[in-house]
């Protein structure tokens, strides 16, 4: 079988995950247990969801710099309104999905750079979050809490959830007509329009889907942490972008992979654990994160080179 570039792109995150996992198991055999795996991966679930959200935006050639702020906002709403007055909370979350779709519309109609608009929105979401929770607090609704801490037989919740969301997102982006349309907009907007589709609606749909996954990310996060604060997920902006790229996605051209994105997110989460098991000096713990990011991405280079050698042979 010939490896296509697409397959190499997908193989990289899997390989990186496998290598890191092997390293973690070697450093800390206790991680090989049911609860060990759960501890390793459960906080990766919201990251994976946020990464998928970012993936939808990237697939239409845009970039969302407000992802972390939005997930924080959702977390604040979940820990307050959704807990105290579920109906109001649900309405707020629905409205925020609508707001995202509207953003997509504005960005398209006015031909605005998404980076700037979402940069502006990141202030707005943080501001709203600060107003909802001026100081940390709130409580996770019980049902979310129990959903996130459920213990299915044999395979821990974190793994089940990751596989499940990867599957659902894959069906949406790779198999459905809507997914094809969204990626088509990323690949060649003009030809999609010439085929009679409304690019406007496609972009709005991509943004709404992104918001939906980001809402799920915020809710899952609160389910794990039990409470929220306005800055809880600010890191998710960069993590989600890195996850998409690690998972073989590209910034332009509608080339994304849902499975890759989830694996990329898990890899990033695992990289952090791997480093803490290494017990580096605190001075270098931050730097080591960078080094690991570089190493993982260098894997792609290695695979590419291998493939080229094989083709020549």
């Amino acid at each position: 079988m010939r490896l296509t570039p697409d397959m190499i792109r997908l193989a990289v995150p899997f390989l990186a995950l496998a290598v890191l996992l092997a390293g973690v198991f070697w450093l800390q055999p206790r991680a090989m247990t049911y609860s060990g795996l759960n501890l390793l991966f459960n906080l990766a679930v919201p990251i994976a969801l946020a990464t998928l959200a970012q993936m939808f935006i990237i697939s239409v050639n845009d970039l969302d710099l407000s992802m972390g702020a939005f997930v924080s906002f959702v977390a604040c709403v979940t820990a307050t309104f959704l807990n105290d007055a579920p109906l109001v909370g649900a309405l707020i979350l629905l409205a925020s999905i609508g707001a995202y779709a509207a953003l997509g519309v504005i960005i398209h109609v006015r031909q605005l750079p998404a980076i700037v608009v979402t940069l502006g929105m990141s202030f707005v979401w943080t501001g709203l979050a600060v107003m909802i929770l001026p100081s940390p607090g709130g409580a996770a609704p019980d049902w979310i809490r129990s959903l996130m801490t459920v213990r299915p037989p044999f395979v821990p919740m974190a793994i089940v959830a990751s596989v499940l969301i990867a599957l659902v997102a894959h069906l949406i982006i790779a198999r459905s007509t809507l997914g094809v349309l969204i990626r088509g907009v990323g690949g060649n907007e003009r030809s999609v329009a010439r085929a009679g589709w409304s690019v406007l609606r496609a972009r709005a749909a991509a943004y709404a889907l992104a918001a939906l996954f980001a809402v799920l990310a915020g809710m899952a996060l609160v389910g794990l942490t039990t409470a929220a604060d306005a800055n809880i997920a600010l890191r998710y902006t960069l993590l989600s972008i890195a996850g998409v790229i690690l998972g073989g996605g590209e910034f332009v051209g509608g080339r994304v992979s849902a499975v890759g994105a989830v694996v990329g997110a898990l890899t990033l989460a695992l990289a952090g654990s791997f480093l803490s098991f290494l017990r580096l000096s605190p001075d270098w713990q931050i730097g080591a994160q960078g080094a690991i990011l570089i190493l993982v991405l260098a894997l792609r280079l290695g695979l590419d080179a291998m493939e080229r050698r094989r083709m020549r042979a």
Binding site: I106, R110, Q111, L112, P113, I115, V116, V117, L119, G120, M121, S122, F123, V124, W125, T126, G127, L128, V130, M131, P134, L238, I241, A242, I245, L246, E250, F251, V252, D283, W284, Q285, I286, G287, A288, Q289, G290, A291, L293, I294, L297, A298, R300, L301, D304
Partner: protein, 316 residues
Amino acid sequence: MTFLRMTASRPWLWAWIAAVAVFGITIAATAGASAAGLAQAAFTFAAFSVIVGLGQMFVITLGPGNIDLSIPATMTLAGTVSLKLMDGQEAMILPGILVALGIGACVGVLNYTLIRALRIPPIIATLALSFIVQSTAIWTNRGLRVKPPESLASFSTGTLWGVPNVAIVAGLLTIAAWVLLERSGHGRRISAIGQSLPAARRAGIPVEGVRLATYVLCATLAGLCGFLLSCFSGGAALNMGAEFLLVSIAVVVIGGSSVAGGNSNVPGIWGAALFLFLVVSMLNTYGFGAGPRLILTGFIIIAVILAASARGRTAA
């Protein structure tokens, strides 16, 4: 109509209009009494954003995906190492500056090496490298705050005929950047690469050399800014660059440069930097709490972008 035509050919005007409007609203709070002081403060702090913004602008002009996220870490490392080296001695000022610029240049070379050798998207490469640079900064002096030499401290906080010295430095750099971008062959090449890398290659442009030079330039400016900022604020802090990550990007895009690359806008950077400083001052002056202030900041940024795009429509 003539106004529209004027703004159409000068996309940077919008950032300036916004800055002037916000300035007006702010001084209205004190019936104009504070105009001079506020303007001076605005130019002082905008100068730092401009210096890093210029570098970021060159990088963003290189085309989609090109961005330098290592600016904050570079500023921190350049600031801490050079201040530690000078250790308050006047005689060490020149070595201090050279070390700050040298650190910037090194980071730029490393950034580019990662991007090119490992074929990593710049956003990830520079982010990853910034972690390493930040660690190096922590390791070199563990956050101790060393005072700058007296003459540097007074230079960076001083003024010349009422104009802050740092603003003069940033102004000169701006002029140089404008010439480089609009008049020089190098600027043409950057713009060509930003529009289409394969086309630039086929047109005989030495793309790798130009990209390397651009990343080095950006990081060197970040090093210079870190140096000036730590002299200005009486010592380098480990978190002193953090703010400049978003600011450096924001001044470029609000200033009218295209995030799609190839098209940049030097005067707009000043407008945007002043605007970003003044928005916060305005909202602080009117006593908004953190929440509403953030929300308004966000909406004002979007409004400026919308206004600038309305100009784009009428011109077409």
